[in-house]
């Protein structure tokens, strides 16, 4: 068995989610190869070669792969992946975009967002916003799988010494082109990698009031997230959304502020180690999953917490 892991990167840095994906591959067992498809991504390939447990790094360097356009990257992965037992990618927006296209090209069903490996062909994954856990078995010749990072502790980023091999295959489907991107700039930790997350919901009332959460987050070294209600109301951008259809987080400490606790939100954070809820409605469902609940006006409690913490 040899497993192909698709590296998550921006041509400069190997994203941490790759380490969780390699961890899932290690649980399956067998040799692990990592594919770095990109342009001028030599530093990423070097980083991937050092990841513990990786036997080989394949580098496909081509302008067509520069922006991870799925129309170009998926045929590459499908072509290379044919000889592997499993193809794994992180369940990031990029992995979710590319991998189903690979699965369809290989004519196999994909298994999305696994949270555990039961055996080489059997996996667990949440369905219905995490209100049920399905055990899924695959008899596909190549098993195509996305991995939920919070389900697997990352492997060490160093300690490996894999061989790096160039792949010549160039696929430019000519169907799509990259126009531009607007990336949120923040000095705070990335939401899915942060040890502490402070999230706000509809109770924040408006986007300006999120300044209270930013102040607390900066004191704690935390990332800031939001519920779908807060995103829908236009308080904050979608990339801050924690929930079933947003980001899945499992930090050491999750502080839910003015969040009622809809099942869709709980799906994105209920695996956090410690959950704190601050809400003035003591009947709010968020208190049913919170380790520590504080019934209080958030506009008093959050600034006070920023001082005391």
């Amino acid at each position: 068995m040899t497993i192909l892991v698709i590296a998550e990167h921006d041509n400069k840095v190997l994203a941490p989610a790759t380490l969780n994906t390699v961890a899932a591959a290690a649980k399956i067992g067998g040799d692990i190869h990592v594919l770095v498809a990109g342009q001028g991504a030599g530093a990423v390939a070097e980083a991937a070669a050092q990841v513990a447990g990786v036997a080989k790094v394949l580098v496909a360097d081509n302008a067509a792969y520069a922006h991870q356009l799925p129309e170009n990257v998926a045929p590459l992965v499908a072509e290379l992946g044919k000889g592997y037992s499993h193809i794994l990618a992180a369940a990031t927006s990029n992995g979710k975009n590319i991998l189903p296209r690979v699965a369809a090209a290989l004519d196999v069903d994909q298994i999305s967002e696994i949270i555990s490996v039961e055996s080489a062909d059997t996996f667990k994954r949440p369905i219905y916003a995490g209100n049920a856990i399905a055990t899924v078995q695959s008899n596909a010749a190549v098993k195509v799988i996305t991995v939920r990072a919070t389900g697997f502790d990352p492997v060490a980023a160093t300690g490996g010494s894999a061989a790096v091999e160039a792949v010549a295959a160039a696929h430019d489907a000519g169907l799509s082109s990259f126009v531009g991107e607007e990336l949120a700039k923040s000095d705070r930790p990335e939401l899915t990698a942060a040890k502490i997350v402070v999230s706000g919901g509809r109770g924040m009332q408006n986007g300006d009031n999120f300044k209270h959460l930013y102040a607390l987050a900066d004191k704690l070294g935390a990332a800031v997230g939001a519920s779908r209600a807060a995103v829908d109301a236009g308080f904050v951008p979608n990339d801050m959304q924690v929930g079933q259809t947003g980001k899945i987080v499992a930090p050491q400490l999750y502080i839910a502020v003015g969040i009622s606790g809809a099942i869709q939100h709980l799906a994105g954070m209920k695996d956090s180690k410690v959950i704190v809820a601050i809400n003035k409605d003591e009947e709010a469902p968020i208190f049913q999953v919170a380790d520590y609940g504080l019934v209080a006006d958030l506009f008093d409690a959050v600034p006070e917490m920023a001082v005391l913490a």
Binding site: R101, S112, P126, Q137, F178, N238, Q264, V274
Partner: protein, 249 residues
């Protein structure tokens, strides 16, 4: 131009799914079913493109049981012109659904296919991408903005770090994210009118598509329950407990 919109009948998003005692699946008896929220956004986007004069006809398609006709009627009431149900009582995988949709796309020859990014039951987030692969079309997934000009569509996508814009040749596949639009409610006259709009029923056999799967669901369990903790009386007590009891600060 013609737009095909694919929709799914799912457990209503306000209903909490519960697992059957024999671990064979999720309970559906006496539960409220609805149009998948992301599919509602897909219908709305198509209707807006028609209102702008970009689209001329909207064909809404669902793959599912005969009862999915209810959700197709909802889409017709929201502004779709006609509907197709590919009827199957089986629990089909995303790949099987994508193959069936591909057969419909071959028949209907749309310039644009809009789907929800994810169904809130299986949480797969696969069908649109798979349909794009099978059709050989470009894909604009997780769309927050869709702009058609000439023979291309510019799609702004919600990605982990922010937003990305790609340009795709038409025909193309778009999957919707939350912020693309805010779906309207169907008016009563439109609900009445929708009852008279055409709804064609097809079968996988009639489309010549095999729905065989490489995946098998072995069992479905309830997740480990998280028990409620304690209520604290003050911020000071909260901070003290987080530092000394939970040791996370």
């Amino acid at each position: 131009m013609r737009i095909v919109v694919a929709v799914k009948r799912v457990l209503d998003s306000n209903v909490k799914a519960t697992v059957k005692s024999d671990n064979s699946g999720v309970n559906f008896s006496n539960t409220k079913m609805a149009l998948n929220p992301f599919c509602e956004i897909a219908v709305e986007e198509a209707v807006r493109l028609k209102e702008k004069g970009v689209a001329t006809e909207i064909v809404v398609v669902s793959v599912g049981p005969s009862t999915a006709q209810e959700q197709l009627r909802t889409a017709l009431a929201l502004g779709a012109d006609r509907a197709i149900l590919v009827e199957s009582a089986e629990d089909l995988t995303s790949l099987a659904v994508a193959k069936l949709l591909k057969a419909v796309v071959d028949k209907e020859q749309p310039q644009l296919v809009i789907l929800g990014k994810q169904a809130i039951d299986s949480d797969n987030n696969q069908t649109g991408q798979m349909l794009a692969a099978l059709s050989g079309y470009g894909q604009g997934t997780f769309a927050s903005k869709v702009e058609i000009s000439g023979d291309t569509v510019a799609v702004t996508r919600e990605i982990d770090g922010g937003a990305q814009t790609v340009s795709l040749k038409l025909p193309a596949i778009v999957t919707t994210d939350l912020r693309l639009n805010e779906p309207r409610y169907a008016s009563l006259p439109n609900i009445m009118k929708a009852k008279k709009k055409p709804l064609e029923v097809l079968t996988p056999d009639a489309l010549g598509v095999s729905t065989a799967s490489t995946n098998k669901t072995v069992k479905v369990e309830a997740p480990a329950a998280r028990s409620a903790g304690v209520k604290v009386r003050s911020v000071a007590e909260l901070v003290e407990k987080l530092k000394n009891e939970a040791k996370v600060l």
